[in-house]
Every structure is written in structure tokens, then in C-alpha cells.
């Protein structure tokens, strides 16, 4: 068993970056995730020689990542809502140039400057693509401090495996809270994937390596796009991750991700106590979305209640998965308000049971 510690979500994430062999972190302060940069500034260089640099902005950060990832290194940044919005051009470039890297959004209530309280209002941005053009990030949604650590390692591995940026979509509550976490052992710096495509200086025995996303000839550009789309299909086939709770005999299914899912676990407990046959699906990968799971279960159940800390974003993916084969309802709170298990259960009863 690995080392057990009490850690803040953001700090567990930072610690895991060091242990996952991250070569470089570039970031800019923003609440509620500044601890990542702060923790790494204290810890990282001395322990693994990892580069930690406070950039002049989020735009600089994401482009520094581009450079370092293009040079074949494990690179990472983190920010929150407004910062992520500024990174959208860079993210589109990184996805198009197929650079493996890790981006973290410890999100907060928006839109605009909004509030720094937790929220899940950045789902669309993360999953549908906030930047221009057709691209996909692999999106992981942790719901505990333990997963804040574990998904850093997983994220880097998926990124390297698919040459695709990975985004960890979490929120202020999970970033700020302290829980027990079991830490994995220190891994070799830089990871173990070969990156023959990286710009490390053209040696005599290979052609030059070029990192680019420019393909001025539409035919060429379409070819690249088709290759990207094929990769995304492969990821959709192989990398779907989710957690289910009491699904076996469920007549109703709750679905939620991250912080929302933690609350919904309690709702399942409370509901079961009252005798409702209620279960939970927690998508862990938001892209790839567990479409098949939803499609398969839809005809067997009476309805799905999707709970999010936003105005209804993941619910579109749920609906797209079930294609009308079961009723899909939504309950959401916004702006940093966190719904209680009780209010969700009440809403569930009102929607699904009162009419019966």
C-alpha cells in the first residue's frame, strides 16, 4: 500500500504530478487552484528537477506547454474557468498538433468573473470543445482527493498513449477540500513512452521533426481531420470509464459527475432507505462518454435524473445516448450553490413519483 496522507485536492494533484514524472509545470495563479503552483514551487524542483514556472498569463502557460510537450516532455498546466477560456486557442493548437499534455480546470461559478465557489459550468467547454475546429480532449472528472492524485498519472498515460491532450475537469470544492489519499510511488521522470516525433534537435540519422497544425491544402487538412476523428473513435471504444452504484435492480437512475456524483451517492442511500429502486451512473471519462452504458440501460428503466452544478450540460450527452428510449430529467444548481442530497431526493420524488 502506498503512502497515506491527508491532503488538499489541489495539493494531491500537485504531488501526483511530481510522482508521475512530470517534467514541467507552467501556470498562472487563480482561485481556487493556486495551491497547485504554490505546492510545486516548494516541492518539485528539489525532488525531481521538474521545471516549475509561473508564467505571465494563462496564454503564455498553455503555449509553454505546447513547446515543452512538443519537445517530448511531460508538461502540465492548471487553471480555473476564466483562465481556461483564455487557453482555448492554445488547446485547439495542441489537439491539432497532437501533443500529449495535461490540463487541469478546477472550475468555479461563471459565467464572467462569477464567483470562486465550485461549479460544473465548464462541461461544454471541456467536452464539446471551447476552441475552434473539430477536436476532442480526453476529459477525466475526479470526485475525491484520491482521484485528484490518481487521474494525474492516468491522464499523463492516456495523453502519451494517444498523443492527445487530457483535461482533468474538477471544481473548487474538490480542489480545496482535504481527505485521505494513498499516493503512488515515484515514477521515472518523463514517463516511459517513446516520442520519436519530438523536436529535440535533428540528428544526422533522422529527418527533421516538425510540430505544426497548419495544413493549407484542404485535402491535406481533411486527411488530418479524418485521422483525428479516427483516433477519437478509438478512444471512445477503448477508454470509457465510469462508476455505477446499485444499478442492478434500479428502476430509476441518477447520473452526475465529480462533486455532483458524491452528493448523488448520498441521494441513492436516502432513496433506498425510503424503498426507491434507485441507482447511480457516474461518468468518469466525460469524453469518451459512456454512451453505450446509457443506451443499454435506457429501455430497462423508468427514467434518469441528471444532476449537475450548472444549467444542464452533460444532460445533452445523456439524451444523445438514450435517444428517447427513456425519460431524462435534469436538476441543477448554479453559481456556486451546492445542492443537498435532500433537495435532490425531493426533486426526484416530485418528478418521478408524484405523478405515479
Amino acid at each position: 500500500m502506498g503512502e497515506l496522507r491527508l491532503m488538499k485536492g489541489n495539493e494531491a494533484l500537485a504531488e501526483a504530478a511530481i510522482r508521475a514524472g512530470c517534467d514541467a509545470y507552467f501556470g498562472y495563479p487563480i482561485t481556487p487552484q493556486s495551491e497547485v503552483l504554490e505546492y510545486l514551487s516548494r516541492e518539485a524542483e528539489a525532488r525531481t528537477g521538474m521545471v516549475v514556472l509561473q508564467a505571465e498569463s494563462e496564454i503564455a502557460s498553455i503555449n509553454m506547454i505546447y513547446g515543452a510537450a512538443g519537445a517530448g516532455k511531460r508538461a502540465m498546466t492548471s487553471s480555473s474557468g476564466p483562465g481556461l477560456s483564455l487557453m482555448q486557442e492554445g488547446i485547439s493548437y495542441i489537439a491539432a498538433a497532437e501533443l500529449p499534455c495535461l490540463i487541469v480546470n478546477v472550475s468555479r461559478g461563471g459565467p464572467g468573473l462569477g464567483t470562486i465557489q465550485p461549479s460544473q459550468g465548464d462541461y461544454f467547454q471541456a467536452v464539446k470543445g471551447g476552441g475552434h475546429g473539430d477536436y476532442k480532449l480526453i476529459v477525466l472528472a475526479p470526485s475525491s482527493v484520491q482521484e485528484m492524485a490518481d487521474f494525474v498519472r492516468l491522464g499523463f498515460d492516456l495523453a502519451d498513449k494517444y498523443r492527445n491532450p487530457v483535461l482533468i475537469l474538477t471544481d473548487g470544492a474538490i480542489g480545496q477540500m482535504i481527505e485521505k489519499v494513498e499516493l503512488f510511488e515515484q515514477l521515472p521522470k518523463g514517463g516511459t513512452y517513446q516520442k520519436p516525433w519530438a523536436t529535440t534537435g535533428k540528428t544526422k540519422n533522422r529527418e527533421r521533426n516538425i510540430i505544426t497544425s497548419l495544413h493549407i491544402d484542404p485535402k491535406e487538412m481533411e486527411k488530418i481531420n479524418l485521422r483525428l476523428q479516427a483516433k477519437y473513435r478509438e478512444i471512445e471504444e477503448k477508454e470509457v470509464r465510469y462508476e455505477t452504484v446499485k444499478l442492478e435492480d434500479a428502476e430509476y437512475v441518477l447520473t452526475a459527475f465529480g462533486l455532483g456524483a458524491r452528493i448523488c451517492k448520498k441521494v441513492v442511500e436516502l432513496g433506498r432507505e425510503k424503498g426507491y429502486k434507485i441507482g447511480l451512473i457516474r461518468p468518469i471519462t466525460l469524453f469518451p462518454f459512456p454512451k453505450k452504458l446509457f443506451a443499454d440501460i435506457a429501455p430497462k428503466i423508468k427514467g434518469i435524473l441528471d444532476v449537475e452544478l450548472n444549467a444542464g450540460q452533460m444532460v445533452e450527452d445523456v439524451k444523445l445516448s438514450v435517444e428517447g428510449k427513456t425519460r431524462v430529467e435534469f436538476y441543477g444548481r448554479m453559481g456556486g450553490i451546492i445542492p443537498t442530497p435532500e433537495e435532490i431526493l425531493e426533486h426526484f420524488e416530485k418528478i418521478f413519483l408524484k405523478g405515479e
Partner: protein, 270 residues
């Protein structure tokens, strides 16, 4: 084809006697690929590309150098420069270069940026990269215009100069005076060598090459940021012939952007 080759006796002699390997004094550097450059006739970009590749060939550092070219007419630099290269988003070349050099501190990283790129959208990255003293070379092609997007006003466009977005001439009261980024970065402690050169005639080309050589040497010694502005031309968007454009460089641009070192290491200035 109807072209007849008339060789004089003299010519025959020359070819035989002179055009032999041992007399070779100048040829296209091998670090330049064999592709035709896509630049307009007479464009300074080609000259600077060649100079960079000459220095890299002569210093035998092809395997050490990593280039970064952002959007701008030179976005295809990677087609011509036979080295590892990264294309960067508009304005972000120095951030990308920072990312590279921080993880590969022993490599020689350079950026190749236009004036729109470096002095407009990339202002913050340029200034902060220089301020941190990143060990990179910034090559800054100042052609006083946005070349690639067909001739809009750049931060360096001269007062009164007509461009597609200053159709009545740059009005300094509304659009500001030309921004001399090179002067600004020269004042930052992070920069080690800051110079302004041109490629409008053979003499200036020689000096620019010298500057590039020095810069790569300083990078090898990890001295900090080197910054070379090259006052260049854009015949197409200036609507001039190449020869006229170089005259404009001489008569209008260079007086406004005087050539020479703005900051040079002590060993050098004495």
C-alpha cells in the same frame, strides 16, 4: 525551347578554370532544404532564412538547434529550414520557445517572428520572455506591415504610411506612434545582446550574419536572451518592386529604426 546558349571564349575559360569545387566560396547552405521558398520576389524573409541556415551549418549545430516560427509569412519556415521546428500560434513563439528551452536547456532555441506577431499580439510574451532572460534567440523581422494577411498596419508601420487599415496614412494621434520593441527589451536586465540589423544590401547582410553568429555563441554560453531585429521589406504589400522596397528601407525605415547594437556584452563593446 528556343533559347540558344552563346558562350564566349572567356566564359568557357571561366567555367573550366573557376567553377570547380576548390574555388567555391558561396553556395546555398545544406541546412536549407531544396524546396522553392514561397516568398514574394525580393522578400527579405528569404535572406534571413538563408543566413540562419548558413550560421547553423558553419557552426555545425544542426542537431542542437530548435526553431519556432509562428503565423506570419514565415509560417512555413519549417519547410525550408532543415532543423527540428515548432509552428506556434500567432504571437506566442517566445512562450513556446520558453517551454522548449526550459525542458531542453542545452539546446539552442530561436524564434523567428514578424512585427505583427512580436510587437502586437505577442507583446506580453515578448517582454516577459526577455525579462526572464530565457536563453533563446529572438529574430524579429520588422517589415512595417502585416505581410501574410495582405498588408494591414503593423505596430511598426511608419507615421503617415499607407496600409490597407491606414488608408489615409498612419495617423499617430489615433493609432499611436510606431512601437520600438527593440529599444524596450534592450532595457530589461534579462536581455544580453540586443541589436538592430537590416538585409537591404550586401554590407548589411554581412553584418546581420555576424550578429546571428554572435547570438548563437552566446546561447551556447547560456548568457540569456539575444534579440536581433532585422529591418526588412515587403515589396508586395508596400506595392513596390523589390529594388524600390530596399530603397524605402534605406531611406525611410532605417532612419526611423537606426541600425546597430542596442545592448552588447561588455567583452564586445570595449
Amino acid at each position: 525551347m528556343d533559347e540558344t546558349i552563346v558562350k564566349t571564349e572567356e566564359q568557357e575559360f571561366l567555367e573550366e578554370e573557376i567553377c570547380v569545387a576548390e574555388n567555391l566560396v558561396y553556395r546555398r547552405p545544406k541546412t536549407l532544404t531544396d524546396l522553392d521558398l514561397h516568398y514574394c520576389p525580393g522578400c527579405g524573409h528569404g535572406v534571413v532564412h538563408r543566413l540562419l541556415m548558413e550560421v547553423i551549418e558553419e557552426m555545425d549545430i544542426q542537431d542542437k538547434v530548435i526553431g519556432v516560427a509562428p503565423v506570419g509569412c514565415a509560417v512555413f519556415a519549417y519547410n525550408y529550414m532543415n532543423i527540428d521546428m515548432q509552428e506556434a500560434a500567432h504571437g506566442r513563439a517566445t512562450a513556446v520557445a520558453t517551454g522548449i528551452v526550459r525542458v531542453l536547456p542545452d539546446k539552442l532555441v530561436f524564434t523567428y517572428q514578424g512585427d505583427g506577431d512580436l510587437a502586437a499580439i505577442g507583446t506580453a510574451e515578448t517582454l516577459h520572455t526577455c525579462n526572464r532572460g530565457e536563453n533563446i534567440l529572438i529574430v524579429f523581422i520588422n517589415n512595417a506591415v502585416y505581410g501574410m494577411t495582405s498588408g494591414q498596419m503593423a505596430p511598426t508601420t511608419l507615421p503617415g504610411m499607407v496600409t490597407t487599415t491606414s488608408p489615409f496614412g498612419r495617423d499617430v494621434n489615433k493609432m499611436g506612434y510606431p512601437l520600438k520593441m527593440t529599444d524596450l527589451v534592450a532595457q530589461l536586465p534579462g536581455t544580453y545582446y540586443v541589436t538592430r540589423q537590416a538585409v537591404n544590401n550586401a554590407g548589411n547582410v554581412r553584418k546581420t550574419k555576424k550578429a546571428i553568429q554572435k547570438a548563437f555563441q552566446y546561447l551556447q554560453q547560456k548568457k540569456g536572451t539575444c534579440f536581433i531585429e532585422v529591418v526588412s521589406n515587403c515589396p508586395s504589400n508596400w506595392k513596390m518592386t523589390p529594388v524600390e522596397s530596399n530603397k524605402f528601407v534605406e531611406e525611410k525605415l532605417i532612419p526611423f529604426y537606426p541600425l546597430g547594437d542596442l545592448k552588447s556584452p561588455k567583452e564586445e563593446t570595449k
